[in-house]
């Protein structure tokens, strides 16, 4: 099952990246650098998926105390943090030649940076607690608090600043870019979400093997 997932992921990513770097039109003002967007946006969106899964798995764990839910939260957190980190990095690489700076404290970037630090803290908490049952419980609580905090972070930061490109995918009026940009974006989004799922599946397997090795 995981193998199939792996193959599907590879397929989606290969197609998606081909579309992004070969098929999609060259952006008029920004040049080829803009193609990073096809990787940057899916990475960030896939990380949002990761954190939603983490929140739900955390609630499930507290309710059912099922170690499988905890393993899912753990793996999701790890993959999510990596994706956010890569997302921020690709964003910076896109930003430097395009807007002249590696970083700016606008609403979107600030929110994502806070997200990154919050979930790094999640992994740090896991790392410092030796007792697996206590780690599971504490991280579940932290995961829920962080998840509930995200809308608050979003609004407070947005009210504080607004400079980022107006969100083109999630604006109420709908997507305003052309189809030739939308399709590569969607395929890559699928690819990266599948990649997230694949990594989480592999990681959960590893975690379960580690847990079962204990007498």
């Amino acid at each position: 099952m995981v193998k199939t997932l792996g193959w599907l992921t590879a397929l989606a990513l290969v197609v998606g990246l081909l579309m992004a770097f070969v098929v999609a039109p060259r952006e008029v003002t920004q040049g080829n650098v803009q193609r990073i967007m096809y990787v940057h946006v899916p990475l960030i969106l896939a990380s949002y998926v990761a954190f939603v899964v983490l929140a739900i798995a955390s609630i499930l764990y507290l309710v059912r105390r099922d170690p499988a839910a905890d393993r899912l939260a753990h793996a999701s957190g790890e993959v999510g943090v990596v994706f956010v980190g890569l997302g921020i990095a690709t964003g910076s690489i896109w930003g430097k030649p395009t807007w002249g700076t590696w970083w700016t404290w606008d609403a979107r970037l600030t929110s994502v940076a806070i997200l990154f630090v919050m979930y790094l803290g999640y992994l740090l908490l896991r790392g410092t607690i030796d007792d697996p049952e206590r780690a599971a419980r504490y991280c579940a609580v932290l995961g829920i608090v962080a998840a509930l905090d995200i809308p608050l972070v979003h609004f407070s930061v947005y009210w504080w600043r607004t400079l980022h490109q107006p969100p083109s995918l999630m604006k109420p009026g709908g997507f305003t870019g052309s189809a030739s940009i939308l399709w590569p974006l969607l395929v890559n989004l699928l690819g990266f979400v599948l990649l997230y799922a694949y990594f989480v599946a592999r990681r959960v397997r590893l975690l379960r093997a580690e847990a079962e090795a204990v007498p």
């Binding site: 030796d130 049952e133 204990v214 007498p215």
Partner: protein, 239 residues
Amino acid sequence: MSLEPVIRVIDVRKVFGLVPVLDGVSLEVRGGEAVALLGANGAGKTTLLKILATLLRPTRGTATIAGHDVARAPEAVRPLLGVVAHGAWVYDDLTARENLRFWSTLNGLAVGADDVSAALGGVGLERVADARVRTFSAGMKRRLSLARVMLTRPRVLLLDEPFAGLDQRAKKWLESRLETLKAAGAALLMVTHSFGRELGIADRLAVLAGGRIALDTARGTLGPDDVQRLYAAHAEEGL
């Protein structure tokens, strides 16, 4: 007294990391009965006590108190317990009296000033009732802890070295209080690594060694020397 076991430990295992501290422990304590559990330091006595006190979960096996599973229904078990462990549960900056009042209120009990004074008197702390616990010796703190437990009139008593650090008068007081509780139907489990006064009130003796119960017998008329011999015979580690 009652024939139903109040404390039941069934094949409990507890593993810390890769080390099995308890490896299949089974024990029962009935209402109105006192069991002294002997074992060397590190044998797992405190671990077993903590599991029964709902502070730790067993890796495998079940422990129940009055029919409630300690791991699955800790909140049902806690109101029944009186625990005296290594930590004294006293706040240094409060007086003895204030400590007793705080812990009683926290446990949902309505104790009047007289009950508190009586409890302090019983452990011989009436003269320092309004002194800060910071000035107390270890033995005095232990006595305060015992007073705290006695105020709650528990149905199950879990005691870790209860007579350690007490003078003769306090030992006599504790003995009589424990006998009273026993007579009222409470189940007592006392854990110790020495052959002291616990034996006087114990109805049964058990030895914990190698992660298991190596001996479980009625005390009868055995004296401390007999017990020591029995212990040496059954324990793998000496004392």
